[in-house]
């Protein structure tokens, strides 16, 4: 039996994720759509916190909510004239979209509910004695042994540098 608080928190975050995901892809105004995506990302961060990954939740808020969403809002404001009539965002291949997503949903949910591995450990059992502390994360991120990640870490830093240069080259004025 999990704690009641955990269950209530789970239902609130799951409801927020489901409702705002649907609103993200059905909203007619793109700025609203971006705002709903922000709510989805924040609810996901709450889920990370609940699962015991505090660092990951903080990264999710800082990078996704703080960085990527600001980038999106900038892009939307740069590419839309303020008083322009909002053209319908959807209504393009709607039947195909509904068919594909319904088919995918049925397949995925069928696979999910027939998967035997889903039963078993509950959140409380998984959380006991398995706290991920900052010390362990830092050691794993900056080591070169087995299960340590210095090489991907450096690769991501080079990727980000390439991305900065690429962004400047692609978007500069000719």
């Amino acid at each position: 039996m999990d704690q009641v608080g955990n269950i209530i928190l789970y239902f609130v975050t799951a409801l927020v994720i489901i409702v705002f995901s649907v609103m993200t892809v059905t909203s007619r105004k793109i700025l609203r759509s971006a705002t709903y995506l922000l709510f989805v990302l924040l609810a996901t961060a709450v889920m990370y916190f609940q699962l015991g990954y505090q660092f990951l939740g903080a990264v999710q808020i800082a990078v996704y909510a703080g960085g990527i969403m600001v980038l999106f809002v900038f892009a939307i404001l740069l590419t839309h004239r303020p008083n322009q009539d909002e053209q319908a965002l959807t209504s393009h291949k709607r039947v195909l979209g509904i068919t594909c997503s319904a088919l995918g949903a049925i397949l995925l949910l069928f696979a999910l509910f027939t998967m035997p591995v889903c039963e078993g450990t509950t959140l409380c059992q998984a959380l006991t004695d398995n706290n991920v502390d900052m010390n362990a994360i830092g050691t794993a991120l900056l080591g070169t042994d087995k299960f340590q990640y210095l090489l991907p870490f450096e690769a991501v830093s080079v990727l980000l540098l390439a991305c900065i240069i690429g962004g400047v080259v692609v978007a500069r004025k000719r």
Partner: protein, 103 residues
């Protein structure tokens, strides 16, 4: 009532399906990118949930999500640069208007 892994995977599936729907039906480039972020986020959530419930002692899923978030940031920055460039070249970001790869 107990919170097992299934409870966390269902919102993730719905998030992913919404992303697929938006990716197919939207015809604005930035709206397509928003749907892409939804799908990426669902995959990240799956990694973390599998790590927590199946291998509670390990941290591999968490690190995969961590690097995935970093790469998503890079990808979004480049994609937004390309979208702004397209807007500058042809004046809007509707995918039906984009027919040439070179301007």
């Amino acid at each position: 009532m107990e919170l097992t892994m299934l409870w966390y995977l269902v919102p993730s599936v719905i998030m992913f399906i919404c992303g697929v729907y938006g990716f197919i039906t939207r015809h604005n480039l930035i709206a397509i990118l928003l749907s892409l972020e939804l799908m990426l986020n669902a995959a990240d959530l799956n990694f973390v949930v599998f790590n927590r419930f199946l291998f509670p002692g390990a941290m591999e899923g968490m690190f995969f999500t961590l690097f995935s978030i970093g790469i998503a940031a890079a990808e979004t920055a480049i994609a937004v640069a390309i979208v702004v460039n397209i807007y500058r070249a042809i004046g809007n970001t509707d995918i039906n208007e984009i027919k040439k790869m070179r301007f």
